[in-house]
């Protein structure tokens, strides 16, 4: 058996507290919280290390667990370079995307103006005024 202490901050404390509540544990059950989270995290890490994706299926959507740690584990296990981050669209979003791409391009004035500005060699960022600075 080992003992350890971790320095936390307010954000981490709040996240841990939220997890504890969701897992139905009392404030004095920190060791149980650690045990439960270790079991969950170990499973996720094992799946990633074996090259699997961790997927959450809802009634009509599927979401993949995306986290820098998952990419690191895959890299460490020789599963190639980091692939582009997946962006999963549901059927309605896919239909909307098809409609957008099919409709053709009608750039709004602001975009045309921006593209012209971007091509301007003398383009400069805006001068900023901060409320607490005189100049």
């Amino acid at each position: 058996m080992s003992r350890f202490q971790a320095k936390t901050n307010a954000v981490l404390d709040a996240e841990l507290d939220e997890l504890r509540r969701r897992l139905g544990l009392r404030p004095n059950q920190k060791a149980d919280l650690l045990r439960e989270l270790t079991v969950l995290a170990s499973w996720v890490v094992r799946q990633a290390a074996e090259g699997r994706s961790v997927i959450a299926r809802g009634d009509d959507d599927v979401r993949e667990l995306v986290h820098p740690v998952i990419d690191r584990i895959r890299r460490a296990n020789g599963q190639g370079a980091v692939s582009p981050m997946p962006v999963a669209l549901d059927d309605d979003e896919v239909a909307r995307l098809a409609e957008i791409l099919d409709r053709g391009f009608d750039p709004p004035d602001a975009l045309i103006f921006s593209l012209r500005r971007m091509a301007d060699q003398d383009r400069e960022p805006p001068e900023l005024t901060w409320p607490d600075r005189l100049g």
Binding site: P86, D92, V94, L101, L115
Partner: protein, 187 residues
């Protein structure tokens, strides 16, 4: 009055990050806690800072983060119009975050940062080592949706955060993407 310049986020900027303020806590937290790690350790995204120099020292006036994405379908069912789409996955560049310090909002910096981000994406699409089709943004509020809509991005769903897209193929095809504005950011 001062004029900001764009710099790629690096370790040396750390001390500047804690002074950044924005109404959306998640945008502040990302910059202060994850942006550097994602850029240097995890290679997930790259962040660019608008640094404003003034008598009181340098400040981060705004930032944006870019990542490459693979736009995929969450299900495999047949839907109408599918034949009109390129084959999935569709490669894209994601404007993952764009934020302006709340003390200098309304002065045109958001538009400038958007142009820098779009310029980098177009530069990559035209002459980079990989091809991609979509410029994607995630709008976290109705105000952000309105901001991106002004520039031609269209939302894919009515909920928030809203995923929004701009088809960059016509921009490249028409050659409007010959832009200079990215020189500082990409150097």
């Amino acid at each position: 009055m001062a004029t900001p310049h764009i710099e790629k986020l690096e370790r040396g900027h750390r001390s500047l990050l804690k002074g950044f303020r924005n109404q959306e806590g998640s945008l502040v937290a990302y910059l202060q806690r994850f942006a550097l790690r994602h850029a240097q350790k995890d290679l997930l995204s790259r962040t660019y800072l608008a640094i404003d120099e003034g008598p009181g020292g340098n400040r981060v006036a705004g930032y944006f983060s870019l990542a490459t994405v693979s736009v995929e379908r969450a299900s495999v069912g047949r839907i109408p119009l599918l034949s009109k789409l390129p084959r999935f996955p569709i490669p894209g560049v994601l404007l993952a975050r764009l934020a302006v310090d709340e003390r200098v909002q309304g002065q045109g910096l958001g538009r400038y940062l958007f142009e820098e981000a779009l310029g980098l994406a177009l530069q990559l699409a035209m002459s980079g080592p990989v091809a991609f089709r979509l410029f994607v943004a995630d709008a976290i509020s109705q105000e952000a949706v309105g901001f991106y809509e002004k520039f031609g991005l269209q939302r894919l769903s009515s909920r928030l955060p809203a995923r929004m897209v701009l088809d960059i193929q016509p921009l490249i095809a028409e050659g409007i993407g010959r832009v200079r504005g990215t020189r500082d950011a990409s150097s």
